[in-house]
Symmetry: C2
DNA sequence: TCCAGATGTTTTAAGTCTAAAATGTTTAGG
DNA sequence: CCTAAACATTTTAGACTTAAAACATCTGGA
C-alpha cells in the first residue's frame, strides 16, 4: 500500500476541528462547575471563589507562603494576589508579615479564624464535588486523571516552546 | 461473603478525595490553556479572550443573536454581555439593533470588519489549539470527549437538583 | 381592555484580573 | 565597596465579572 505517505501528505494540514471541539468541551465543563461552586460558596458561606482558593493554598502550608508562591500556585498575576490578600487580612482571615531574612518578602498564613472557617467550608465543598462528579465511575475518574495529566503536560510544553 | 453490605456501610462516607483531585486537575488544565490562549491573542492580535469568544459565537450565527442568547451560550451574566457588546460596537466589530418584533430585544451581528478580523484570528487560533493538544493521540481525544461529555451531564444534573 | 407576572436589557456596586510601570531589596561580579 | 541585574511586591489603568436592583416591554388571562 504505497498510498500511506501520500495519504499523510494529502491530509488537510489544518484540520484540527476535533482538538478545537475538545477544548471547547473542556472549557464548558470547567465553566459550568466553577459557576456552580461559586454560587454555592456565596449562598452558603458568603465567600468568593478566589478567596476560597487562596485559603485552600494556605491550608496546605502551615508555615505560610510568600506572595510569589501563591501567585505561581494559583496561576494568577502578582498584583491580583496583593489585592486578594489585602481583603483577607482586613477581614481577619489572614496574617501577613515581612520575612525576617528578606525584607522584600511577605509571608502570609491563615489565622485561627481563617483556618476554622476554611475547614468548615472545605468539608462541605468536598461533598459538592462528589455530587457534581457523581455519575462518574471510579474507572472514569482514573481515566480522566490520566488523560488530563497528559493534556497538562502537552500544554506546558507548548507554553515552554513559545517562551523561547 | 456477607461483608459486602457491611463494607459499604463502613466505607468512609466522606472520602471524595479522588473527585477533588480530579476537579483540581481539570481546573489546572483549563486555567493553563486559557492563559496561554489569552496571552497569544493579546500578543498577536491585541484582543482579549472574552471579545474573541463573543465574536466566535456570532460567527456561527449569521442572522445574529440576542443578548440573552449570547449570555446563555457564553455562560456569563447579562450585564457582562452588555458591556462587552458596547465595546465591540464602539470598535466597529459589531452591529446592534433593536428587534422589529420585540422592542425589548437587542440583536447583534458581526460587521464585515468584525467577521474578517475574526476569521483571521480563528485560523491562527486553531493552530494554537493543535499545538497545545499536540501530545494527545486521536484515541486520547475521543476518550476525553466521551468522559467530558459524561462529566458535563453529571454536573448539569447537580445544578438542576440544587435549583429545586 | 387591563394588569400581574414574565421576559430582556441595563445599571450599580463591589470584587477580580491582567500587563506594565514603579518601588524597594538583595545578590554577585568587578 | 559599588553597582548592575535580579527579584518580590505594589501601584496603576483598564477590562471583565457577578448579583441584585431598576427599567422597559410583552403576554395571557380575568
Amino acid at each position: 500500500m504505497t498510498l500511506d505517505s501520500e495519504t499523510k501528505a494529502v491530509e488537510l494540514p489544518e484540520d484540527h476541528a476535533e482538538e478545537l471541539r475538545l477544548w471547547l468541551r473542556l472549557l464548558t465543563c470547567t465553566t459550568l462547575i466553577e459557576g456552580e461552586i461559586r454560587s454555592r460558596l456565596r449562598e452558603r458561606f458568603d465567600v468568593t471563589l478566589p478567596r476560597f482558593d487562596l485559603m485552600a493554598q494556605l491550608d496546605k502550608a502551615p508555615d505560610g507562603m510568600t506572595l510569589s508562591d501563591v501567585s505561581k500556585r494559583m496561576m494568577v498575576s502578582n498584583g491580583n494576589v496583593t489585592g486578594l490578600v489585602e481583603r483577607l487580612v482586613e477581614s481577619g482571615h489572614l496574617d501577613r508579615r515581612t520575612s525576617d531574612t528578606d525584607r522584600r518578602v511577605q509571608v502570609i498564613r491563615l489565622t485561627k479564624l481563617g483556618r476554622a472557617e476554611f475547614r468548615k467550608m472545605a468539608a462541605e465543598h468536598e461533598t459538592w464535588i462528589a455530587d457534581i462528579f457523581g455519575d462518574l465511575t471510579e474507572k472514569d475518574v482514573r481515566e480522566l486523571m490520566r488523560l488530563l495529566a497528559k493534556t497538562k503536560g502537552s500544554a506546558q510544553k507548548a507554553v515552554q516552546r513559545r517562551q523561547d
